[in-house]
Structure formats: C-alpha cells, structure tokens
Amino acid sequence: MTLEAEVWNDITPIPQDDGPDPLAPIAYDTEYTKAMDYFRAISQKDERSERALELTEKIIEYNPAHYTIWHYRQQILFSLNKNLYEELEFVKDQIDNNPKNYQLWHHRQVLVEKLKDASRELPFINEILNDDAKNYHAWTYRQWVIRTFNLWDDELDFVNKLLDKDVRNNSAWNQRYFTIFFNPTKPTDEFLAQEIDYVIEKIKMTPNNISPWNYIKGIIAKSNKDINILEGLCKEIEEQNIISPHALGCLVDIYESRARNGSTADKEEGIKICAILAEKHDTIRKKYWEYRKVILVSL
C-alpha cells in the first residue's frame, strides 16, 4: 500500500505531538511519519473504513507492538463486518515474523472468540512451536484454546511427541501437568501410577534434567503419594555412578520426610548429602544446601 494523495485528500494529517517541550526536530522514515499523521487524523474522528483498515496494516508492518493501532484495527474489522478468516491469515503472517509479541496473540484470541471456531488454531500453534517449542505466548494461547473449545483429547499425545523430541522442554512438562490436572475429567489412580512410571523412565534418560524432577514431585504432592516411592530411582542413579545433584536432592527430601517421623539415621544421612551437595556437586547452590542442612539439624 502506498499513501496515494487521492485517497486521502479530504484528510488533514495531524503531525506528531511529542509532548511539551520537544528537544529536537523529527527526521525519520517519511512513509511512517505520513501514515501516523493520517492515523491521528482519522482515529480522532473514529473513521471506520477500508482505507483506515489499510492504514493500520501499513503502520503494523512498521511497528506490530503499537497496541493502540491494533485496538483501532479491531474496531474497524468488526464495524465493516470483514471476513475474520482472512484476518486470521494476516495475523498468522504477523506472528510468524514476531512470535513474541503480546498484541498479536491477543488479537488472534479476540478473533477466534468472535468466530467461535478454533479449527485452525492447533495446527497454527504447532507450526509456531515447531520453530520455538518454548514460546510462552504460544503455550498460554494453546491453553486458552484447549480450555475454551474443550480440545483435551489429543493433547497428551502431542506432549508425548514433544518430550520424545526434547525431554528438557520445561514448557512441555508444564503442559503435561495442565493436560492431566486441568482436564475436567480427573485422572484415575491407575493412570497416575502409569504416569509416575513414565516420568521415572524419562529421568533415567537424563538424570540431570530438572524438569521431570520438578514435575514428578509435583504430581506426587498433588495425588497425595509418598516421596519415598522415588528412593529406588535415586539409588539406581547413584549406583550407576552418575553424579546427579537432582537425585541427591531428592534423597534429601526423602530423608527429611523420614527424619520428621523420628528417624535419626535418616536425619544423619540427609545431613551428609547436604554437605556433599554444598561442597562438591552443586557448589553454586551452597547456601541452599546449607539451609536444608540447618533444617535437618533442627529436627
């Protein structure tokens, strides 16, 4: 689009008001200046027209984070009854170029809310996650889509595939928790038992990957199971002579829980491991392990 004079000859552009006391003259890209001057003029009279829509597109091309423009564009789209599926394509192109822009994702959500049709959403999000499997915006939006349109059924398979690809993807582990525990259908005990086995296998693959450790402790707490069920796993890792601060840390949790029930032997064992972590295997977190040790000593 160019800012052809004949389309705009009835509009008096409003130049930039840079607030009181501007310190220097303006000399930036003239196309953008011109577009913004027209924008100020037509938004002031709330013009909702084809040319206004095109103008917003032009400004967005320059500056997709200009949130006021997006808001205005939305009002024009709805007033003119535009085909929102075409707008989904437009916003898709924008997100492809700016996948971490808040305005774009929210714009898409508003469109889909209005369309009441999420059929294009998961394939679209999958594409984005294919480029960056940890994109926070994409995941948050995905959760909204799944919850709003009740698309729980295939989500665990999707998460499985992502974890097969990258077992260190913390976003995928979080999505796993979301899929299982935010689902209106609650997981059965049998399912949870299988789930714990699944995570244990993943931990064995990468004992120094914090994500499944956090996750398994999370589901143990959520389902009121005992942290002691992880003792075998921790010992197995230890026996393989793999140095895993996370496995050792989990042993500290286990021994602390037993020390709280009165076991002095476990208390001593826990104190010993805290010292090893602080002095040898996780020195960057020395102070944390010393803190855990103080707690154990006080029991």
């Binding site: 008001d17 840079d18 607030g19 009181p20 006391d21 310190l23 220097a24 003259p25 303006i26 000399a27 930036y28 890209d29 953008y32 200046t33 913004m36 100020r40 320059y62 500056n63 984070a65 200009h66 949130y67 006021t68 997006w70 808001h71 939305q74 808040y102 929210h106 508003v110 940890k134 926070y136 995941w139 948050t140 959760q143 909204w144 919850r147 260190r168 993807n169 913390n170 976003s171 979080n174 999505q175 928790y177 979301f178 935010f182 990957n209 914090i210 994500s211 956090n214 996750y215 402790k217 999370g218 589901i219 707490a221 959520k222 960057i284 977190r285 102070k287 944390y288 803190y291």
Partner: protein, 236 residues
Amino acid sequence: MSTSEKPTHLLVDLHVKYIQSLDTKKDDLEYWLTEHLRLSGVYWGLTALDLLNNIDALNKEDVVKYVVSCQHDNGSGFGGHVGHDPHLMYTLYAIQILVIEDALDAINVDKVVEYVASRQDRATGAFTGDEWGEIDTRFSYCAISCLSLLKRLDAVDVSKAVEFLMLCKNFDGGFGSSPGAESHAAQIFCCVGALAIVNSLHLVDADLLGWWLCERQLKNGGLNGRPEKLEDVRYN
C-alpha cells in the same frame, strides 16, 4: 578495548549523559518505533538516574508535564505516549514517576483509582491490561502496586485478586501468567510482589519456590528465566 583500558569504576557522568541523550535521538527510526513505550523509557531512565544520585539530570517540570500529557483524554489511565490508549502497565509507570518526583498533585488521583479499579473482573479477581481484555498476572501486579502507591487498595477486591494469583501458582511453587501457564521468573516477580504488597506472602510455598528460584542459577553464575533455558542478564 584491551584489558588495561577497561574502566575500574562506574563512569557515572557518562551514564548520566547517555540517559539524557536518549530523548534526543530523534533521527533514528527506532526512536519512533518505540513510541508506544516512551513512558516506560522515562521511568527506566529516571530510576537509573536516581540510583546514580543524579535525578535532577532530567528536568522535573518537563518530566511531570510529559507524564501528565500521556494521561488519556477522559482523565483516567495513562498510555505509553501522548495519544495512545490507556493501559494498566503505563498507568503504573506514570504513577511511579510521579511518586519519585513527588508530584502526584499534578493529576486527579481519584480518576486514576477509578480507572485501575475498573480493570478488575470482580468475578475472578483478575485484571485486564486495557479495555481489550488481555488477562495476565502482570496486570494484577500493575494494579496492586499502583493502588498501593496511591494508598487506595480499598478501591478493589483484594481478596479476590489474591484468589486469582493463587490460581496461577504451579506444582513447582512458581507462578505463571494465567492459571495453568508455566512458571516464569518474570511472572513470579509480579505475583510474589503483588502478594507481598497485600500482606499475603504466607500463601507462597516459600521452600518450594525458594528451590525453584535458586535453581535458576547456572554453573557460570548467570540466571535463566525458566528451567533448562540459557542464562540471560534480564533475570539477574
């Protein structure tokens, strides 16, 4: 620059000059493309100058005038720049700047309080950033922090706001942007900060969150924002 040329102390004057110059780079397209967050820029510049004991390097009268000019025509919230839509985030920046400059009398505080309160969904306790409707715990923080600075927390339903924040607490002790969203250092700052302001820190699982937070530090000393990601100075 060779090692011998590295400065051995903080070059305060140069930092101050640099911050002052940011408002004069109007030949750069970048200056204009960041127009929507100009007000944030003033806040960052001003707080940096304050830390450098040079707050007067930006003229108070100009700063206050500029902030007031970012307030929306209807006298409610503030936009990121003159003529931009009001938003909770920029409203917080505006109030923070005015408090730093001791200039709250330059605005109608009641109108701002009314605007912030109107952003709360009374059913869920959550806050929307603007009339567009985006919900995020960042906006809970903006609202609570802003009202606390204005000493008007009574204008919102604090217990509902806390309820929403707690729905965003995760299995790993951290917090995300919405219920179910992944724990993220920046969101944790917002949620824990908001809870601290309203005396609700007892709701945080301090030991679990403490572990999550200290686990953000990598062997090289840097910090990441989420587990198994690379370090980045913005999280320090």
